[in-house]
Symmetry: D2
Subunit: 204 residues, 4 copies
């Protein structure tokens, strides 16, 4: 089995601006690569994802190409910054478009997100990570993704002013180690579901 | 004192499409008008609000005009649909841009949102309203808005399939009455703060 | 493999009072039983679970017996009512005590909740289910449980006044069917993890 | 006008154990005292608050005495630790009992929490404060409390291991200053509402 992972980087900053969110997501990706997983990262804000809740909102919509990548990936990682304690508008836009997956199916008749796993990476200049992990997991599980235990990591600088940028240093050691664990758990559960898949619900 | 209210309708649907969210927001607006408040509603998705966390993201940004309206309104109502249990991406985009208000001040030196009140209107085809009221109030209070007691209303159809559209009927009676109460409480606290304003923090 | 499921009913009402939360949880249990899973339901409020964050808070503590049941169950279902939009205090008390599982291990050296799956059942007289599914899943995933896609169900009566009691009727058809799906997904992923377990992290 | 403030300390630790949550709450109290407000702090876990959603759950219930204090206080501060990213079970227990206030009135006929203000203090060994501020404010606003802008403060140590105890030091400077601002805003809005009260809704 060749497992593929897609990371949706939901930063507000268009390329080529530096993204702290991407920096931590790449720690997860590096471990996935080491485990033999093919990884791809996509910065959602670089694409013109139109508002809506279908998989194709028509002319000029950047989502259909992303939707196709989701269909090829057994592992999805949602990586988002924290703004006012919440996941970014770019992240929520992606979830709104993924809402359509609720009524789409895989080739074996299972709902589109069944037998796929998802994890979460949160970076911020302040508190909010646990909340975002909760809201993101709720959306992902609702759609049909399985979320393995401890399949997330986060970094922020704690309360008050201070350096706002994630950098690969002593201070981010815990976040990095937690990200490596997340990658392993995502891979382990993706592999288990590949060998023993959830089946399609019987026709109503 | 002449009080002004601004409603930000955060539906995903551009004008002139019908907006269920606007339908319930207009119940709050009608009561505010009856109390002598001048009201205005703006559909955020009709404007090109760029991603970012400043008050002006440059050429083509639709936010600066909205930011100016915020500065003129003693009462703000955030009206949002529910998607996957969360406030809309359009709503979160507005909050991200309002993040800049944290370091902006009124003419009397108070933070930009002090002595202003805010309320929330949530409409959805499923459960999520209390959560959104929580996340929206957290963002608004963080920025500096005061949220009066019971300054919100919501409507959704409960669990499972059914009619997804808000319509002014027996079924929305509770939502409408709750919206009238919200309008009165927003007006009462706005009036109280106008007469007895919060003062600027002392220079650090 | 003989799979066991434990349901923690987090109602505020002591036995033998009727519990709406239990009524919906029993729909999930019935399907689990049909799949060959041995099930057990426990009403947490009947036991004197002391405040704290260890697995044994000393004399009179009702938690150690529950902690042992958790160790025997591959499937955990958290069933909770909705109060002011939140999971019950009894549910949060259980999570606080499960916090200790973060540093406990299974006989194979994996963290105590690895290779176990969890689902959520929410009942309420008003909106709040999606939020509670989010906060509960965040806690469970944090501890190490894997949450399968669509491993939850809920029932509430929608906005405003109305009948507050879950009853097995046309009105709860969607909640029941969703509960059956949840049971199947819990069983499928528990089985997959049993055959292909997540492994222990390497010694630090 | 003589304003009174009540702080409900929702730590899991019974007296006389040290409470980090209380340490930060006392910063808010000190500023309230400086402004002439009479303050009182109560450790909820020291009292036997029974599960339920009425104001008096019968023999042995510790809540009725607390409910009376709530009726005497124009300012309420909810102070809670963070466990698994959530407000404590003791905090949620208090909210469940305050649910009954929805149908209780003040002597002037207003709902019991009208013309009262509330703020939030959160302490934790990890991320979760913004979320808890959101869930607590949602509950408080639902009940009828007005939440002034920036009427909260929090402290935690950021991601990963480290000193878990709040101590009045350079590291908590921001949390302390934010707590002083919270106290001023609570006092300002309580004073404004005392002079210009919200009125009772007309008989239905």
């Amino acid at each position: 089995m060749s497992v593929k992972a897609l990371v949706l980087n939901c930063t507000l900053k268009q390329s080529p601006a530096d993204s702290n969110t991407e920096a931590l997501a790449r720690v997860v990706m590096a471990e996935l690569e080491r485990l033999g997983v093919g990884t791809q990262i996509l910065r959602v804000v670089d694409h013109d994802v139109l508002p809506g809740v279908t998989s194709d909102e028509g002319a000029g919509d950047g989502w259909p190409a992303i939707r196709q990548l989701l269909g090829n990936a057994e592992i999805l990682v949602i990586a988002t910054p924290t703004w006012l304690g919440q996941q970014s508008s770019v992240c929520q836009r992606a979830f709104e478009r993924m809402d359509a997956m609720l009524s789409e199916t895989n080739s074996d008749g299972t709902p589109a997100a069944y037998n796929r796993v998802a994890g979460v990476v949160v970076v911020g200049n302040e508190d909010g990570a646990h909340h975002i992990i909760g809201t993101a997991c709720q959306a992902l599980i609702d759609i049909g993704y399985t979320v393995p235990g401890q399949a997330w990591t986060y970094w922020n600088k704690g309360p008050g002013p201070g350096p706002e940028e994630y950098s690969n240093s002593h201070e981010t050691e815990w976040s990095n180690a937690t990200g490596v664990t997340a990658a392993r758990n995502l891979f382990a559960v993706a592999t288990a579901l590949n060998a023993h898949p959830m089946s399609a619900p019987p026709a109503a």
